[in-house]
Amino acid sequence: MSSESSKKRKPKVIRSDGAPAEGKRNRSDTEQEGKYYSEEAEVDLRDPGRDYELYKYTCQELQRLMAEIQDLKSRGGKDVAIEIEERRIQSCVHFMTLKKLNRLAHIRLKKGRDQTHEAKQKVDAYHLQLQNLLYEVMHLQKEITKCLEFKSKHEEIDLVSLEEFYKEAPPDISKAEVTMGDPHQQTLARLDWELEQRKRLAEKYRECLSNKEKILKEIEVKKEYLSSLQPRLNSIMQASLPVQEYLFMPFDQAHKQYETARHLPPPLYVLFVQATAYGQACAHMKSSQPPRQDKTLSVAIEGSVDEAKALFKPPEDSQDDESDSDAEEEQTTRRRPTLGVQLDDKRKEMLKRHPLSVMLDLKCKDDSVLHLTFYYLMNLNIMTVKAKVTTAMELITPISAGDLLSPDSVLSCLYPGDHGKKTPNPANQYQFDKVGILTLSDYVLELGHPYLWVQKLGGLHFPKEQPQQTVIADHSLSASHMETTMKLLKTRVQSRLALHKQFASLEHGIVPVTSDCQYLFPAKVVSRLVKWVTVAHEDYMELHFTKDIVDAGLAGDTNLYYMALIERGTAKLQAAVVLNPGYSSIPPVFQLCLNWKGEKTNSNDDNIRAMEGEVNVCYKELCGPWPSHQLLTNQLQRLCVLLDVYLETESHDDSVEGPKEFPQEKMCLRLFRGPSRMKPFKYNHPQGFFSHR
């Protein structure tokens, strides 16, 4: 066993200090042998290899000695005991050597262990140091990345651009020579400039704030002043009431009217405001007269204010779908009324008018008044108008003038095509479909006409291209149409009244020619008007000589139609007249048919065609003084003259015996001219002769 352990330990010792062992032993041999015995020191001096040889040798010796002893003992004898003793001593020495070697081995082992331990500790310390250093490195790296990722606040600031900065900043901030190459310095300088600018702006802001404060204070002061003014003004108003009454100045009344106007629906309100404004503007224009005395336009509100107020309390009432649901509820409670009654109710509900209406009285020069009443149909969101004309004197109504002043047609086509029979709101058609109304025209007599211009005056605009959900009453629209519309209304009434008067004499066969139009005609006109009657539109369409007008689209059903008969001797000239509602800006159109030696119309006689052209195309010279109310009568008189010329210049048929029926009395330069052998229809005023156009 001991041999094994020594075998194991030996290499370590050899390894730890193999080579320097000789040198050490030599030194320690000389220096330390004499002082004290130290086995530990001895260990260092001895070579473990040799110790091993020694050990092997000792063991062999011992074995040999043991074997010899055994041999001796087995033989037995006396001298043997001495020999055995000798041998025992020898083996004791060997045992001693073995013991020594054992000790040495132990010391060596311990020493080796200590060395190993020492080295291990050293390694541990180094390892710890390494760990620390690694940790430090990691920390530093983290710090570096942190620094790199650091976001400076200035990056969020929106700086002025570089060019602007160099242009505007003062040189002591910009320091161009330093900052040009160094972006860091540049950024710093720009930040400085930003700060500078912000400081300035903050200063300005403070100034403005203080300014605002000041102004607010001023306003406060003025408000106080105004509020103190109100009671004073009230007292003045109160005091002035008797004076107002005395002087017929109804300021207070107007004020009350404005109070009522607040309850008007928006379109009527717009109309009211704009019409009042226009009326006042007109009154002021005539500065020679005292205002308010002679008013051409007066505006008033009619209807019950309470009803209008009541309308606003339950706001559902005015809503269309709500009324539907109401009707449904009624239907269940009332045990189903018949479908017809129910529809009737719905129709009535849909066509309901606002309880308030606006009255407009337009006074013309001859004291005739056009009364216009504007209504607002709440559920259809359209406005309608009813018109009435009253005249200063009682008018004898000629038969043919029946339609001229009728409320139904007096305002027809004020603007081209605006006949007021269809609803201008495209959305209405769907509402009508629901309750089974085919067109609005069946109700127009009762409700009034929804002319387009009425909607415009109320500021309602319904674009055809894009139906809008809500149409809002617009003041500017109303204002832009007010003046032209009022003027058109006035001219319409005046021209209708003029026509009314003219028709009365036309029916008696007299063509009234005013003195300022006398120059258009020769003194002697032989042809006479004998008949002037109205003709139905259908009858006009049936006439054989009016085809061209119908084809040209000039014979719409909004026009008025008349038939005139002009006679001279055996010649009868029929004239079918289309009177556009836009008379007299749009001229009446004549179509002729002459019954004399056969029937002559524009299709078989060029001169009849020329006569039509004379009155239809050259109507401008027949207009007379503005506003050309004499146009129709002048055209008729001109027709008489044209017929005279036509008949008198007709070439005499040599084969017929006897004198000409119509001797030539008119002075003409030439009878015929041009390829179509025109007659001299043009009258030259002061000289009195006829020539060709």
């Binding site: 086509c413 084809d551 390829p675 156009r693």
Partner: protein
């Protein structure tokens, strides 16, 4: 023609005036451009319209009217085309336009000339223009009862031929001999020799029993000639005359006064009061009556320019704002409108 549905569009003042103006329009004269692709038409308002026949006749059939301009103060009674110019005449004046420039907008007249008139009270109109290619001159006739010859080279009036007692309606040139025929309101057709500037022959049509129609008047409204033959009409009946013997050979049975007549191949085309273009055999038989769109026709124009064979059409215009186009003689293809 069927009755058109009355238009639904509302008519304002200007629209009504324009509609009336179109309704009372009369197209007096036509002339085809030398290239054969354009047709000029003059109306009673003094406007001249240029229609593009080639584009109207093309498969797309669009952009018929190129433009029209206010050319004269009065009606444009007559127009002829030389190889470069369009000559138009109306109230007393003849104006020349360059065809090349007529096709552009804002065209101005090249020159204007007024024949020497004797009267001063009223400016006489010019009813007929006639080109005499042989001597490069233009003959004008109208209200002052005279034929004026104008040299187109210099623009001077060289000759005056007097003889008519009333105004002159129409002129015709005899191709072979330099002779001109004129017909007028006085009912006479006069034959003039241009070399001697003398009246050679007079035919007083109304004095012949066969063709006189006193209730229509004496006037001769239209004339055409082909070598020894002459056809004339107006107040008297449309009649074919043999010039050398000055006798009426054929009287065409039509009541309405004729305003325009022309020889075409072995046919005679005539138009006047009434919607139709009449086609006659020389024997007097009515070959065809082709209805047009105007109630009365005043002028016919045969486009026989060799430059544009695809535009070979007959156009007729009169008492309407439309020029009817007949692609063959059988029927009216379409109308060009002012």
């Amino acid at each position: 023609m069927e009755r058109a549905v009355p238009l639904a569009v509302p008519l304002g003042q200007t629209e009504v005036f324009q509609a009336l103006q179109r309704l009372h329009m009369t197209i007096f004269s036509q002339s085809v451009s030398p290239c054969g692709k354009f047709l000029a038409a003059g109306n009673n308002y003094g406007q001249i319209a240029i229609f593009s026949l080639s584009s109207a006749l093309s498969s797309e059939a669009k952009e018929e009217i190129l433009h029209f301009s206010l050319a004269h103060d009065g009606p444009v009674y007559s127009m002829v085309s030389t190889d470069r110019h369009l000559l138009s005449a109306g109230d007393g004046e003849v104006k020349a336009w360059l065809w090349a420039e007529m096709l552009k907008k804002g065209c101005k007249e090249l020159w204007r000339r007024q024949p020497p008139y004797r009267t001063s009270l009223e400016v006489p109109e010019i009813n007929a223009l006639l080109l005499v290619p042989k001597e490069n001159s233009l003959i004008l006739a109208g209200g002052d009862c005279q034929l004026h010859t104008m040299d187109l080279e210099t623009g001077t009036f060289t000759r005056v031929l007097r003889g008519h007692t009333d105004y002159i309606h129409c002129l015709a040139l005899r191709e072979r001999s330099p002779e001109v025929l004129s017909g007028g309101e006085d009912g006479a057709v006069r034959l003039w020799d241009l070399r001697t500037a003398k009246e050679v022959q007079t035919i007083e049509v109304y004095k012949h029993e066969e063709c006189s129609r006193p209730h229509n008047g004496r006037w001769i409204g239209c004339l055409a000639t082909d070598s020894d033959w002459m056809v004339c009409g107006g107040g008297p009946a449309l009649t074919l005359w043999h010039l050398r013997s000055s006798t009426p050979t054929t009287i065409f049975p039509i009541r309405a006064p004729q305003k325009h007549v022309t020889f075409y191949q072995d046919l005679i085309l005539s138009a006047g009061q009434g919607r139709c273009v009449n086609q006659w055999q020389l024997s007097g038989e009515l070959k065809a009556q082709v209805p047009g769109s105007s109630p009365g026709l005043l002028s016919l124009s045969l486009n026989q320019q060799p430059a544009a064979p695809e535009c070979k059409v007959l156009t007729a215009a009169g008492n309407s704002c439309r020029v009817d186009v007949f692609t063959n003689l059988g029927y009216r293809a379409f109308s060009l409108s002012f």
